[in-house]
Symmetry: C2
């Protein structure tokens, strides 16, 4: 059937074709069915929506189809009934509890990135995985399929090192130290990072304060070939385009059955052979205690073996922010200050050199147990030079100094309400305060902490400063900070945390960062 | 069919009848089927096992049947095919995801306590609840059914107060202070407690050091009528006999779908109208953070409303032992020392007076926010006298002094390996050390702590003493303590907790105490 293509700026994330009811009946397709659209050697499958008001002989196509098939407005296209894709059978098999083959996973992933699957089908797949689970072999096959439909970074290196954090800790600028440390030792580390979703800053947000991060995969390759390392935003690289689709289904459901394939497919796509995964542990991050961290570690390590990635995990303190800053510019400044030797953020240095040390030991640059010392030495001697090389290669100004970084000029000091020891921070509330102040969008917004866990404060002493670029946002952050109980000051002998007398609303938790 | 009853000391927790194969065929019953046994006006349903070697005309009965029906060896009994009990249909309905009625729950609970259900059927019920869940209404009906098949404490009081802790914190002797405090204010508090399952001491084990706890329900009633309170072992009271059966299925599976009915049926059985539930929060107890505690609280409160019990919860610190002692005698001694005014265990006093304060406020003895102060006052002035009244009423020596309590005479001092702040205790390991030293069986075994969270220690300073009654057990506990990393001493700036490189065995966690 010949139809005239029309576009109305319809963006759905999927290939959608709206047909007149009579045309649909003639084709023998109903709502949610599929048609194949052929135009100038391009053939595309689209999901059908039906309209009674659309003129017969016309078809409205979503912009995704325009992009894929380069169809023009009012162009005549040939339309015919399409068969159900293999992917749908595979999804139904998973719903029925069957183990899937590589070919089945590939068909699902391929159809997903070709926008051929409806929201119902994608949701069924995600929920099916959640309910029925994945064996290790299935997770490995799904990861591989996800790699095979995306872009890959091809480096002519035998071993490629990488790190990943499952996130949740505010102020965690560890990557900004780890990459220059290990790259300065000659290790190849093509680091991709995400932007903030629910946090006050993702690594890509932090790094962007001192250098461009929106690189293409070719540009990334050039940077790594020149400097051994890079710190770029992973979002535009299409390393695992299927994951970008699945995550949109998982997020609103609050489930993440694709966690492992999601993380590891992206690592596999940059060719990683040696990976350290940072698993923060604490009551307000995803992993509540060391035992849970152990169990998660086991799964990562086992799956890594199937994928040919040697994985070690670092279970780290997730009970308070890392360093003394939260928010993109404040964090970038702190990381730079530490590299320049101007600030001694003990926990940040401990964490970065611990993780860099594991990578150095994996690479054979240091004997077991000596990696951390080597990392500390490299941080003092070679990391700054390496960081500036990376900044320059990514298109930034290599002469940037920490004092050049602009922090929001509106600020509010928060004082301790009572005297005692700092016993507890609420990571969620601290991130919220920074977000309400404007982070991550307003790069200069955030928090500077003067006290950390175990420190003693006096009533009226300054605890932290909130920075913002706009006074309305500062006021809102100030209000939130005053109402939230984000810090517990006192004595461990005060045992009653809270009395619950009636039902109360629950609040959202951090999601694991992919 | 007439058969001759035989007993061979078979104890299965269930009514089991072993039939000769031919007799079974004649009756039309197969393995796992049911027969009705009639003897002298007693009629009992039993589950059939089949034997080829048993002589025809004989039936071997489990001792549970002997006890219920008072059948003698070689007595002739009448045996006939029994219908499938209603309970089995109800279990199948739950497996199919149906909501059950009160009558259905009652049939299950009744058959369970009559030993009429096979292990397969009981397991199906527990797993069915785990998989299909219980609505609040169902949980209330199940709780009520569990109460209605058990014993009840009938007190002529309008309001009856109670407390419960879901447990997990070593050294938690809070109940030993709460009961005398609130009873001294005139509140009725018929407290039943459990013995240790996986911990170093249950409240019943602690209390037993200073008074008998194995009371009958009539004796318990007498004590409460005389003194307003009691502290007895709940295990022998048959307050919720169905729970004692279900828990044996849940424990090996590591699931507890009956948690709420289990706890609340026992409270309902003593007539509780006002209940405070203590929910310890921390990374090594069941509830990892305050939010989880909130959610659990909501469920308790809602279910309480359906059952006519006013419930408040106390979310309390579960990050370290309460007070400075772990193990029955050491804990009883500490509780008594605090009541006698000889020891100032700040966290124990804070916890006990917080919980007692909530009860006093619920009773209208104190205005909101003033209960804790009143509890502190009662602890200083009237609690000791009340405790001694209870000791006497339960058959103990009311003149007992804390210094009379015998602690194990074998001991081992454990010294800090490095200097720094005490940052973290592993509750599980501390309980394990005390258990390996002999607790709860050896009442004098346990741990005395000299340092708590937030305290600073020097390398070589004494951290704790392990006590035991037997030197072999002391040696084992000493060995375990030296190998376990049960305490973290240092600085919050040390961020790396643990590096995981290979798969490692997981260890058992505490179960919620019922």
């Amino acid at each position: 059937m010949k139809l005239i293509a029309n576009f109305i700026g319809l963006q759905t994330g999927r290939n959608i074709a709206i047909l007149n009811q009579k045309d649909a009946e003639e084709l023998g397709v109903s709502e949610g069915g599929r048609i194949r659209i052929e135009a100038k050697n391009k053939s595309i499958v689209a999901i059908v929506n039906i309209s009674r008001t659309l003129k017969k002989g016309k078809v409205i196509l979503s912009d995704e189809i325009k992009k894929l098939a380069k169809i023009k407005s009012n162009e005549e296209v040939n339309v015919e009934l399409a068969l159900q894709p293999e992917a749908v059978k595979a999804i139904r098999a998973k719903l029925d509890g069957k183990e899937l083959s590589y070919e089945e996973f590939f068909s699902i992933v391929k159809s997903a990135v070709n926008n051929e699957l409806s929201e119902i089908e994608l949701t069924s797949f995600v929920v099916g995985l959640h309910e029925r689970g994945l064996s290790f072999e299935e997770a490995a096959m799904l990861s591989t399929a996800m790699v095979n439909v995306g872009e890959r970074l091809e480096l002519n290196k035998k071993r490629i090192f990488d790190k990943h954090s499952i996130g949740g800790v505010p102020g965690d600028k560890t990557t900004m130290l780890v990459v220059p440390i290990v790259a300065s030792a000659g290790l190849t580390i093509p680091k991709t990072s995400s932007r903030a979703i629910t946090s006050a800053a993702g690594t890509a947000d932090r790094v962007e304060v001192i250098m461009p991060v929106n690189l293409s995969i070719e540009e990334m390759k050039e940077v790594v070939e020149k400097t051994n390392g890079c710190m770029v935003w992973g979002g535009a690289l299409h390393l695992s385009p299927a994951d970008d689709i699945f995550i949109q289904i998982e997020k609103p459901l609050g489930i993440d059955p694709l966690l492992f394939p999601s993380i590891l497919s992206k690592k596999k796509a940059v060719g990683a052979t040696d990976l350290v995964i940072d698993i923060p542990v604490g009551e307000s991050v995803k992993i509540g205690n060391v035992e849970e961290g152990f169990r998660l570690s086991q799964k990562f390590i086992k799956l890594g073996k199937l994928l040919g990635i040697k994985i070690k995990t670092a279970l780290t303190s997730g009970i308070q922010p890392i360093g003394s800053t939260i928010g993109p510019a404040l964090e970038a400044k702190e990381a730079l200050e530490v590299i320049e030797g101007k600030k001694n953020s003990l926990d940040l240095i401990d964490k970065a050199t611990s993780i860099a040390g594991i990578l150095l030991e994996m690479a054979g640059k240091a004997r077991n147990g000596e990696g951390k010392e080597l990392a500390k030495k490299l941080l003092r001697t070679k990391a700054e030079k390496k960081l500036r090389e990376i900044i320059e290669a990514q298109g930034g100004d290599p002469r940037i100094k920490s004092e050049d970084i602009k922090i929001g000029d509106k600020s509010f000091d928060y004082f301790a309400e009572k005297s005692g020891m700092i016993l507890w921070f609420d990571n969620y509330d601290l991130a919220q305060i920074a977000r309400i102040a404007g982070a991550p969008k307003d790069k200069g917004a955030g928090i500077l902490l003067y006290k950390k866990l175990g420190d003693n404060v006096k009533a009226g002493e300054k605890l932290l400063t909130i920075f913002a670029e706009r006074s309305t946002k500062l006021q809102e952050a100030e209000k939130y900070a005053k109402e939230a109980n984000f810090v517990r000051i006192g004595s461990y002998n005060e045992v009653l945390y809270k009395k619950v007398e009636e039902v109360s609303k629950k609040r959202e938790k951090f999601m694991i960062v992919r």
